[in-house]
Symmetry: C3
Subunit: 207 residues, 3 copies
Amino acid sequence: MTAVTIFAVLDLLGTFVFGLSGAMVAIRRQLDLFGIMVLATATGVVGGTIRDILLGDTPPAVLQNLVPLAVTCAAGLCGFFFFSLIDRLNRPVMLLDAVGLGVFAVAGCQKALVFGLELPGAVLLGMISAVGGGVVRDVMAAEVPRVLHEEVYALAALAGALTYGLGLRAGLPGTYAASGAILLAFVLRVASVRFGWRLPRAPGGPR
Amino acid sequence: MTAVTIFAVLDLLGTFVFGLSGAMVAIRRQLDLFGIMVLATATGVVGGTIRDILLGDTPPAVLQNLVPLAVTCAAGLCGFFFFSLIDRLNRPVMLLDAVGLGVFAVAGCQKALVFGLELPGAVLLGMISAVGGGVVRDVMAAEVPRVLHEEVYALAALAGALTYGLGLRAGLPGTYAASGAILLAFVLRVASVRFGWRLPRAPGGPR
Amino acid sequence: MTAVTIFAVLDLLGTFVFGLSGAMVAIRRQLDLFGIMVLATATGVVGGTIRDILLGDTPPAVLQNLVPLAVTCAAGLCGFFFFSLIDRLNRPVMLLDAVGLGVFAVAGCQKALVFGLELPGAVLLGMISAVGGGVVRDVMAAEVPRVLHEEVYALAALAGALTYGLGLRAGLPGTYAASGAILLAFVLRVASVRFGWRLPRAPGGPR
């Protein structure tokens, strides 16, 4: 029960932080208050909505439960009123975002397994859940999605989902597998930003 | 029966006008005839299709009924042949578009209630139905969706859907609730354009 | 049985070539290895995934079967290591892409008919299946989708799906209808590139 509560709190924390990242992009694009709320909400809930559509679990949670929506609107308001503060707090936001990434990857993988997907499909869906919101945020801001050109981001989500799935298969209790997986995704993501890890580009491509 | 007919006519009118707005964007982007038809169709029917996917009502109406498709293709042809005329008629197109906005918001909310969603989710889905087509139009044209930075647009749709839902809950006959809601969305949208209403931007954001 | 095998091989060939086109766009955009894999996969499998979502056949095939994913990752790696070679081989890639276009159009139409759609909806879904991946590829690369402004592309897919559907209705065996339809889409597409066929632009539009 406590583990479920912790997980639910982390899930809302992830939704909030993703919403905040949407709000910051919206404000940099000089959108108005409503545009900020829309982009915060899209970033916070679209990953889970894509997950639910792909699993056929419709209507998706966001239409049935006001809490995620309230959380992303709160994130939008925080961005609206405290833009310059949050802008300077870049580092803490990145850390929270890395937590959200791991939580969403694990939550997506877990739900996919419950719906009967095999491990590879469930891991893939975990990654899609974790990065989907950010892709929609960037596409709506008419930018190439950050996930396509940023250091280890989707890869951290993939590693988290895979670790969770393999942990379950190895017989670990769900709480342990989830904690380890979230921690791994978090560490991978933060280390990649800290040390500037980059994946190689195509050897023959344009420079 | 008459109310149903009026509603169906308004729905097709909304599809047509949304399709026309897609065609105008396509022509400004110098797309060819086929690109014009595709963008007209996407703008006219994607909102309803997203609604149907989110409600799990698949295949969506557009794949089962040729009428919406015929209407958006007619809109595409109108744009193709009468571009400069329609371009000068900016005002009437905006008025019709405001009707479509209200009709789609109400239709989305209504269908969501029929499918068992609670009021908040149904209102949200009504808004998504109303603005979804325009978002896809702008994303395909590689622009920041107008709904994110234009004056009261999604907000008018939201107000319409909410009025409809609250009207029903207050015991109004569906026709009355729908008419009032469409009228409110229309007036809000037109007044916002006429008086240049704008929502505030973030106080600390870039200028 | 042999026809099914041929079709499955063509389907994987189409997935591979579409994946390759995604990888080439990613490399031109200077994305890293992971971005290349993601764009290759999105381009190769999203068309079929949209088809499955619209038909309500969830979870979609790509989450249940590793083969398409393996194929798009192989396409991504080919793009990564042989970018400049493939870049010079423009013509063969275009030819293979035209095969993929026809195969996907027919496969989408066929599945839609199996799921009980009428002919017009099935033809439309076939076209969507064939061009959907490319649209997502271009939107993620922040470009106006090529299908909107390129010579006869979606039209070739439409012609292929329509030919297949009409062939079945006329009582042709499925293999014959499919072969003829794929051939027609292929010839239309290749001829349009070879002879520079273009559809007209709006007479009153900007130049």
